[in-house]
């Protein structure tokens, strides 16, 4: 047996991905992905693979010797009334079994040498692909899918277990069957075709059935995933489904997925029944053939012990091996295929956009936006349409507007995370697309609403954008933002930070300090003080005012807009620029927003 986890048990999918691949993944493509994976891992660890093969071969030795030892024990020992000889052969058989088990034991370190690096590599590929795609331009800003991430790590485990199982099972099967054939040839060459011919036929049938099995396993797998996905959607929207009177329809859709899984399972049961015939053909028909031809074999000089030996091979070695092959290999291969394909998708690298041909470095934090237009699709109405804006270095701009009007989109455009469909944005006099990626990351900082704090020391977190910043600078920032208490509570700058143990406000403070400490000439705060109280917010605002550089703040409180040098008001149709007072006097929507803010019923999202 390989690993206990490689047992061929169909495992129900417990989680779901809200956006699975739209089209059904073909089992053939999945098989190809698995083959690539096996080939890749074997060629990457050639040495361990050879050693694994060697020890597996030795572990098949008892299978080779068992029949012969049995034959000799019967003929020369028991039947010759020589218990000593019999005992000797049995001890020989025992020693062989011991040696075989020991050799089997030696296979594990080499199996680990193949499988463990593969797991590490897969995990690395998946993490790299997932993260690079998450930060690629145009990636969805919302929604981290915890279930999908959990599933990815589970798929990596499936590959680890299933690959190990395949390596052990297939190899063991080949060697065991080889041992039986060779052993039979040694005892009774005439009996070899009796064993080998049915076996080859059986393997042919098995190969044909395997593809059918994989197809239906795949269907069952997918039906279950569809079921989970529909169930998540339906239960999540149950109130609305009942309220709109579409319950029967929703129930029908989920039950349809239940039914699809049932149908696939029935087909699988049929295939399993047919597959059982392979055992009959491969292991039982040789038994019958040997018995039928035994008189003839005896006439040709075979001893009774030889007959017992051949039957011993067939009954105790060949039959279990064929059963294991028939029941284990198919299911485990399928699991490997499906997981390999999923992982190949997750590891996909989006690639990086080419750097600008003649890069320039921005001089300062001044910003000029001229005629910028952006839409999320070719047929979509623009979210930002002909935006004009100009900010001198050191100015503070507040961006306000009703919910969903495109404030975050504007922030992404200013930060160069989205590329406008038309128009131009310059930072420090240089168009954004002429600034090299690294320079741009140094020149401006964007702080989103959901602050990112990672597990590590506080210093690592604070100095992420300014590696190696001296302690004085860090202390200055900590003092400026009023986070001394937090630093003390975490045990100083070298204290460990557990993101989950911090409140939203504390996480925002850490993220704000990170940006404050950076050299960025343009700082864009996308509601970055949402979880802080008004006093802390004002303090931070002033700290950023004292810090050299331009600040663009997406406002969620009126106080921010009141104190800003300039206010940009978006209403979805057009944009106004002015100060708090001029906008209040001239634009009714602004007055309306101010009123809304004051009632405190809702902050514009």
């Amino acid at each position: 047996m390989a690993s206990s986890t490689a047992a061929p048990r169909p495992e129900p999918a417990t989680g779901t991905r809200p956006h699975p691949p739209a089209t059904a993944t073909a089992p053939l493509a999945a098989g190809a992905a698995a083959l690539r994976l096996v080939r890749g891992s074997l060629s990457a660890s050639r040495g361990p693979a050879l050693r694994l093969a060697w020890w597996t071969m030795l572990s098949a030795a008892p299978a080779l010797v068992s029949g012969k030892a049995l034959a000799l024990a019967v003929d020369d020992g028991f039947l010759a009334r020589s218990p000593r000889t019999a005992a000797l052969y049995l001890v020989l058989f025992a020693l062989c079994a011991l040696a075989g088990a020991w050799a089997g034991r030696q296979t594990y370190p080499w199996l680990a040498e193949i499988v463990e690096p593969l797991r590490d590599r897969l995990l690395g590929d998946v993490v790299r692909g997932t993260l690079r795609r998450a930060v690629a331009p145009g990636a969805r800003r919302d929604g981290v899918d915890a279930v999908a991430v959990a599933q990815l790590t589970r798929q990596v485990e499936v590959v680890r277990d299933a690959l190990a199982g395949q390596l052990m099972l297939v190899w063991q099967f080949v060697l065991t069957v080889g041992a039986v054939v060779v052993g039979t040839a040694v005892i009774a060459p005439a009996a070899v075709p009796l064993v080998a011919v049915p076996l080859v036929l059986a393997l042919g049938v098995f190969a044909v059935l395997a593809s059918v099995t994989v197809r239906w396993q795949h269907a069952a797998f997918q039906a279950e995933e569809t079921l989970a996905q529909r169930a998540v959607e339906t239960v999540g929207a149950l109130r609305d489904i009942v309220a709109t009177g579409t319950r029967d329809h929703a129930e029908g859709e989920v039950l349809q997925a239940v039914r699809a899984h049932l149908l696939a399972s029935r087909k699988l049961a049929t295939v399993a029944a047919v597959r059982r015939l392979v055992v009959g053909l491969g292991a039982h028909s040789p038994l019958l053939l040997v018995v039928l031809t035994a008189p003839a074999l005896l006439e040709r000089g075979m001893t009774p012990g030889d007959v017992v030996g051949v039957l011993g091979y067939v009954l105790t070695t060949l039959e279990p091996a064929v059963r294991l092959m028939v029941q284990g290999v198919g299911a485990s291969w399928l699991r490997l295929s499906v997981a390999a394909q999923r992982l190949a998708g997750a590891a996909r690298d989006p690639g990086t956009p080419p750097p600008p041909a003649h890069p320039l470095t921005p001089d300062d934090g001044s910003v000029v936006v001229s005629g910028v237009t952006f839409a999320y699709g070719p047929d979509a109405d623009p979210v930002v349409d002909g935006l004009e804006l100009s900010l001198a270095h050191g100015e503070q701009l507040a961006v306000v507007g009703p919910s969903g009007v495109g404030k975050s989109t504007t922030a992404d455009l200013l930060a160069g995370m989205l590329v406008p469909d038309a128009g131009r944005i310059t930072l420090g006099g240089v168009p954004l697309d002429r600034i090299a990626r690294d320079d741009l990351c140094r020149a401006r900082a964007l702080l989103p609403q959901n602050p990112y704090v990672f597990a590590g020391t506080l210093r690592e977190n604070l100095c992420q954008l300014a590696p190696g910043a001296p302690d004085e600078s860090v202390a200055h920032t900590v003092g400026e933002l009023g986070m001394d208490d937090l630093v003390r509570r975490l045990g100083g700058l070298d204290g460990r930070v557990d993101p989950a143990a911090l409140s939203s406000g504390e996480r925002q403070l850490v993220a704000l300090a990170r940006v404050h400490l950076s050299r960025a000439a343009l700082v864009i705060l996308d509601e970055a003080t949402r979880h802080l109280d008004a006093e802390a917010e004002e303090r931070i605002e002033e700290a950023f005012r004292r810090r050299p550089g331009t600040v663009v703040a997406l406002a969620h409180r009126i106080s921010l807009a009141r104190r800003a040098d300039k206010v940009l008001l978006l209403d979805g149709e057009r944009a106004w620029t002015g100060t708090h007072d001029t906008l209040l006097a001239q634009v009714p929507l602004y007055a309306d927003l101010v009123g809304l803010w004051n009632t405190g019923t809702a902050g514009p999202g």
Partner: protein, 603 residues
């Protein structure tokens, strides 16, 4: 069977509306008749029969081989092979049947449990007495039901394997008692050794799993901060950080393989050791002439069969898993369901009467013998501090939630007696956080019991101020919901549009304009007055402007209606004013025009 054990509503609401209460409903949970019981047991029984036949054949096989070998060695020709062929044919047929009936039994049971779970969950409605988290529920539906489905198969297999092992040992004993003794000494010893190693492997697995979880948690953190990472250009550092626990994972992984190596070592010794012990004894008997050569081969075969008995341990483990799964499924199915209404709703103006309604949730009384009447065609605002039960009352008013006690009547008919399709056509809901269903934006707007024309949906979208941003989506109204980057406010407006797209008798807005700025909200309300101005409306709100527009305000306080009166009259009461301002000092009714004060944001 048709007994209704729910507390009976007060008699007043039922008289004169056609028959006793129970007559208008049917029990929601179908009971399974004798026919379904036969169907349920059919596949497990078939499995048991095929396994029994297979076991019989397996037990006969060594004997048949033995007879055939002895006849052949004695020069008796091929005649001895006939019983052997018959046994092999029976074995193959029986095992093939078992291969079919086992998975079939599991599949049928799983599907049945899943169907019951889905029906039950949907029938329990959006406010079940016992709430289960979505992820948990889906896990029960997929993994739980699949495991529970194994039950029949696992029981039959465990019994069959144990019986078979016992029979094999007995057969050894029949050949020679010493053979059975040799088996019984060797095999259990090896088995105990194996068990010890398996347990250790399981223990070591936990270190591996925690390292694995560490990587997943770091990846999730980094993904949640992807916008920060993207802006800072630090993705490569993040990748390193996420992968930092990998060496430790490797270490644990190798330790795990090491444990498995010990398990394999024990397994590798168990079978040969037993075989050799039995063979040695059998050889002795053969030498003594007490056993034939064929019987020696038979002894070998029975030894293998006896070792197969340890497979029952796996079946028993499966059975334990199946029972756990069954328990998880039953927990959901055990919750009682309300009966389904059958009555047609007669035409009426849309008068709603709520009488003595009590709702309890997790030990707390949310609504306490509450009475409220919504006059036909009126606009009632429901106002209260957060957590005072406004949303629950809104759910009660339209029959989304049935009260434990009390009665809700729509035009004189108790809501729980009305046929669901009729009730859902009569009542329209919009929520603060609507869940949109269907494939596209248009599907989400037209979701209804009776079809809503696309034109009505577009008209409603314009009324709800959703049309402009929908047209800005990649494919407008035909944009798949999954591809539509919607903010909370946009979602809310689509939810409103969905409610406004259909004609109804009662319109319930549960804080459904909370994310709209006051200007947008005012235009939505003007449009709503035009399309639904003559309908009965119930609006849960936290805004004075909305309360001021209502015909009457129902002030909800600690589960009861404290007062029903126009907003301007209630405004004189300081406690009422505090609901809106948080201070009770302001005397202005329209905060939108108040002078701007700094830090007036109370949240």
């Amino acid at each position: 069977m048709g007994q209704d054990h729910r507390p009976q509503p007060p008699p007043g609401g039922v008289h004169g509306h056609g028959g006793p209460t129970a007559a208008g409903r049917t029990p929601a949970t179908p009971r399974h008749g004798p026919a379904t019981t036969v169907l349920r047991l059919w596949w497990p029984t078939a499995l048991a029969l095929s396994l029994a036949a297979g076991s019989l054949a397996s037990l006969l096989l060594p004997a048949a081989v033995s007879r055939a070998v002895d006849r052949a060695l004695a020069g008796g020709g091929a005649a001895g092979a006939v019983p052997l062929a018959a046994v092999l044919a029976l074995l193959t047929a029986a095992e093939a049947a078992a291969q079919y009936t086992g998975p079939r039994a599991t599949a049928e049971k799983t599907a049945r449990l899943r169907t019951d779970l889905v029906r039950h969950t949907l029938a329990a409605g959006p406010h079940p007495v016992r709430r289960t988290a979505t992820g948990d529920l889906v896990a029960r539906l997929t993994a739980g039901a699949a495991e529970a489905g194994l039950a029949g198969q696992a029981v039959v297999y465990a019994v069959a394997q144990l019986a078979m092992a016992a029979a094999a040992v007995a057969a050894l004993g029949l050949l020679a008692p010493e053979l059975a003794a040799a088996f019984l000494v060797t095999a259990p010893t090896g088995w105990l050794l194996l068990r010890r190693h398996v347990r250790r492997t399981v223990r070591r697995g936990t270190g591996y799993q925690s390292a694995q979880a560490d990587v997943a948690a770091r990846l999730l953190d980094a993904l949640a901060g992807s916008r920060t990472v993207a802006a800072a250009g630090t993705v490569e550092q993040e990748i390193d950080r996420v992968l930092r626990p990998v060496p430790e994972l490797s270490l644990h992984g190798r330790a795990l393989w090491d444990s498995q190596r010990r398990v394999a070592w024990s397994t590798g010794l168990l079978a040969p050791a037993t075989q050799i012990a039995v063979l040695a004894v059998a050889g002795q008997r053969l030498a003594a002439g007490a056993l034939s050569t064929g019987e020696l081969v038979a002894a070998l075969g029975y030894t293998m069969l006896g070792l197969g008995g340890f497979g029952a341990a796996q079946s028993l483990l499966d059975l334990a898993r199946a029972r756990a799964g069954q328990a998880r499924v039953s927990e959901i199915l055990a919750a009682p369901l309300a009966p389904v209404g059958l009555r047609e709703l007669p035409p009426g103006p849309g008068r709603v009467e709520i009488r003595g309604v009590t709702v309890r949730r997790s030990g707390r009384t949310v609504l306490d013998r509450l009475d409220l009447v919504l006059p036909a065609g009126s606009l009632t605002a429901l106002v209260g501090s957060s957590g005072s039960g406004g949303s629950v009352l809104a759910a009660i008013a339209g029959g989304l939630l049935l009260p434990e006690q009390g009665l809700v009547l729509l035009d004189g008919v108790p809501l729980d007696e009305i046929h669901p399709a009729g009730l859902r056509t009569a009542v329209s809901y919009a929520f603060a956080d609507p869940a949109l269903t269907g494939a596209t934006v248009l599907d989400a707007l037209t979701a209804a019991a009776r079809p809503v024309p696309a034109a009505a949906a577009r008209r409603a979208a314009r009324a709800a101020q959703a049309d402009p941003f929908v047209r800005r989506l990649p494919a407008g109204y035909d944009t798949p919901l999954a591809d539509a980057p919607l903010s909370g406010g946009q979602r809310q407006r689509l939810g409103l549009a969905r409610a406004l797209a259909r004609d109804c008798r009662l319109l319930v807005l549960d804080d459904a304009t909370s994310s709209l700025d006051t200007a947008t909200e005012a235009s939505v309300q003007r449009a709503m007055d035009l399309s639904h101005g003559t309908r009965t409306r119930l609006v849960v709100t936290h805004r004075t402007s909305t309360a001021a527009r209502a015909d009457a305000v129902a002030w909800l306080d600690r589960g009861r209606v404290r007062a029903v009166a126009p907003h301007r009259e209630l405004w004189r009461i300081p406690a009422y004013r505090r609901l809106f301002t948080g201070t009770g000092e302001s005397t202005r009714t329209a905060p939108a025009h108040e002078p701007v004060r700094r830090d007036a944001h109370p949240g």
